[in-house]
């Protein structure tokens, strides 16, 4: 159901934009098609003269065969384009997601556990700021300070161009150096809201009976903090992280364009400029699928982790507590 809505939406959206791919193609060549016959001929060549509905079903038929179409502006199969770009975006968004998730979680627990402390207040101030600033502005600030003013990190791209060979290690370092700034920008922008969420769920758990009892049991602070408070904060957090995959991918598109990072973001941006419908359709669809898959994965994980999600029917069939037997039973 979700997939169907996504496919239709992504098909309709680019075509609702003014302009058409033929004009863009011609403009990119420096000219303009003045002869309407040639225009019509080109339209027919790309199948753009057919009714939208027919185009849609053609598109659908292609999709079902695993064919993502052929780029009008770049003259190669869309599948190839995406295969070259997607890994970079996944690397960028994935790195940012992992770091922001881990940072927010541990910083959130630390801050919430000592609510009102200096550290808590400092973290709140910083994360609120980074969450409030748009991600491209954050990226631009990082770019200017750490790549131009103090050129610690490379300015753009994902790898240093024209470098051939090199050990896997030097390649990895090169990739990491290029990744550092974009990933930092994205991490910071994702971390803000997450941090506040974890912190507030830790704070709301502080006075709970189970924490009082855990403390009364004489457990050391780290167990209280991470096992008892942390586990309870983790679960609502996971759902949010699942939703954040979409945000991370969206943010990645902006960040990529700032750093000229060769990922899906740049591809989409180029396709928008060229009104390259097949590229737009396919790349947006792929990103949407990535986000949906991530959400599904998180939901499944959540069900495994949170005992409370278990449906009552499931309990009735398999794990309903038996009436307490007077002698210890062995059927565990």
């Amino acid at each position: 159901m979700t997939v169907a809505v996504v496919v239709v939406g992504l098909f309709a959206l680019p075509r609702a934009m003014p302009g058409d791919p033929i004009d863009s193609l011609a403009r990119s060549g420096g000219g303009e098609i003045t002869d309407p016959r040639i225009h019509a001929q080109l339209q027919a060549y790309y199948g753009l003269n057919r009714p939208l509905v027919a185009q849609f079903f053609h598109h659908l038929a292609n999709l079902s065969r695993g064919d993502l179409g052929f780029s009008i502006s770049q003259r190669q199969p869309v599948g190839h384009l995406i295969a070259a770009r997607l890994p970079w975006t996944l690397l960028l968004a994935g790195t940012a997601l992992v770091f922001s998730t881990l940072f927010s979680f541990f910083a959130g627990i630390a801050a919430g556990w000592r609510r009102g402390s200096r550290r808590d207040q400092a973290l709140i101030a910083v994360t609120s700021a980074t969450a409030a600033v748009p991600v491209y502005a954050l990226a631009t600030v990082l770019l200017i300070t750490l790549a131009i003013v103090w050129p610690v990190f490379p300015l753009s791209g994902a790898r240093t161009p024209f470098v051939q060979g090199g050990t896997p290690f030097t390649t990895a370092v090169d990739v990491a150096r290029h990744l550092a700034l974009p990933a930092t920008a994205l991490t910071l922008s994702l971390a803000g809201a997450n941090f506040l969420l974890v912190r507030s769920s830790v704070v709301s758990g502080l006075g709970q009976d189970y924490l009082v009892l855990a403390r009364a049991k004489g457990l050391p602070e780290r167990l209280l903090k991470h096992r008892h408070a942390g586990r309870n904060a983790l679960l609502p957090y996971l759902t949010v992280v699942g939703i954040q995959v979409g945000f991370a991918l969206g943010g990645a598109i902006f960040v990529e364009s700032v750093f000229a990072y060769p990922g899906m973001g740049s591809l989409i941006l180029e396709a928008v400029r060229a009104r390259d419908y097949p590229v737009l359709d396919a790349s947006l669809l792929v990103l949407a699928m990535v986000a949906l898959t991530a959400n599904l994965a998180v939901d499944l994980l959540y069900q495994r982790l949170d005992p409370r999600v278990e449906s009552w029917e499931g309990v009735a069939v398999s794990r309903r507590p038996r009436p307490a037997p007077m002698t210890p039973s062995v059927d565990r």
């Binding site: 009976d209 009364a216 049991k217 004489g218 167990l223 586990r231 309870n232 005992p307 062995v330």
Partner: protein, 592 residues
Amino acid sequence: MTAGPPVLSVDDLRVTYPGPPELRALDGVSLQVSAGECLAVLGESGSGKSTLARVLLGVAADARVEGTVRLGESDLQGLNEKGWRAVRWRRIALAPQSTASLNPVLRVGLQLAEPQQVHLGRSRSDSDARSVEALGQVGLGDWAVDRYPSQLSGGQKRQVLLALALVCDPDVIVLDEPTSGLDPVVRNQVIATLSQLVRTDGRALVLLGHDVEAMAALADRVAVLYRGWVAETGPATRVLRQPRAPFTWALLNARPTLASLKELRGIRDGLASPDAAQLAAGCPFVDRCTQAVDACSTERPGLAAPEGEDGQRLVACLRGGLVTILRARDLHKSYRVGRHRSDAAVDGVSLAVRHGEVVGVVGATGAGKSTLAALLVGLLPPDQGTVCLDGQDLAAIGPADLRRARRRIQLLFQDPFEALSPRLTIGDAVREPLDVQKDGDPHWREERVRIEFSAVRLPTDASFLARRSHELSGGQLQRVALARALVLDPQLLVADEPFSMLDPSEQANLLQLLKRLQVERGMAMVLVSHDLAVVMRTADRILVLDRGRVVEEGTGTELLISPQHPVTRSLLAAAGRDRVFAGFTAPESPER
């Protein structure tokens, strides 16, 4: 019950939750419990029991704690977190009341194993073995260790919490309402397990709650807590069977039993808000107590041995514990029949009525009930014997004192037509006692009359007050008579067959009204009737009268289940007992 040195001793513990307004949860509580002993702390909800439990474990978050808590040789007050960690669970453990105390996202097995791993260095498998054993002791199978709390019922969670308190074999176990929410079978098993812990393993138990039956079964000593203040303490059997503090009596009196016939009423609500009373100077119970005197609101009573006690039991009450408001000793009254014969209507009756207590007097027609009622209120002089109101012999005091005494004791007659003068309007009839006693100014008296009319659920408009007795129905008229009896705010009401002329519906209404007014105003009452069913629903204690003598005495439940005297049995039969309890015969016993 000779206990060794206390393993846990609490001295003058004061716990205040920061405000505003500040809340004093515990106010000068002192308790001791020794190894192999069970101390029960009995109290209403909100009496500070759970605060006490938290303070004993050092987890009373932001509360200010003063006083000393000693565990064995060590002083727990002033311990830092590290010091507390060494004490918690290894030496003192807690089974809290709230089932939300189990972490919802951790398996029961892990939560049971945690303290064992941390404090005793047990491996997880050793811990699990002990956990399973402890779960078995409280009636749960080993399947429970694999469960999450959400997969357990409320009662099962409570069992897990109990097992959790046992796993590290601490010296002292604090149990907050350990038996609430358990089904009877599990409850009995839990009690048996706890009993074994105390008697065989020599653990010290602190049992917090209001399950009197469990306390009677387990506790050696009982401390009664009211709003953070100890009202009574002493050996369990004595405190629970014969309470001496007004609060203990009132609390136990409101408790249902299996065959409660009495219409249960809680202790009357206080007038002041709890917080205000908390820090006020006087007795914390003063606004709900039926025997409070002026000094009670200014002076806080400390624990002291009441009269006739050996010092094991202590009661905190300025009046020295429960006070008997009316005590009749060996009353005799005969009516002359003919020249040389006299008939003994009342023949050696003694009875005592406490403040706030309802005593029923039942008997067949001609048993001497009405004569007894008249003797009690001083309408008739006894041939022999005394009637004392608050220790004053009514026959021996002067007229001024007698008049003062009269206003504290009122009589409600069987027949309101006879009791109310047809010449007076009903408003005047109710005001008359105030006029006689010269209370207040006329305006105040009018207001008072209206208050009483509204208290007995009658209209208070002038046209109604101007009616005369023949214009009212029997039920309305009996209410007017009740208003007249209540207008002086008596401490004792003697009601002689007040319902016998009313139809069942009117009787039920008036019965409930009377009981409610009795509780709200904290009056004592002597209810005289031939109708055992009515008396059983109202009275705390019942006397059976036959030919001028008390032949049996007990609570309604006792009389219903095991009536001893033939007269009681015949009264019960008349009330339809044998139809209700078909095939059930009371144990025969020799007549007394």
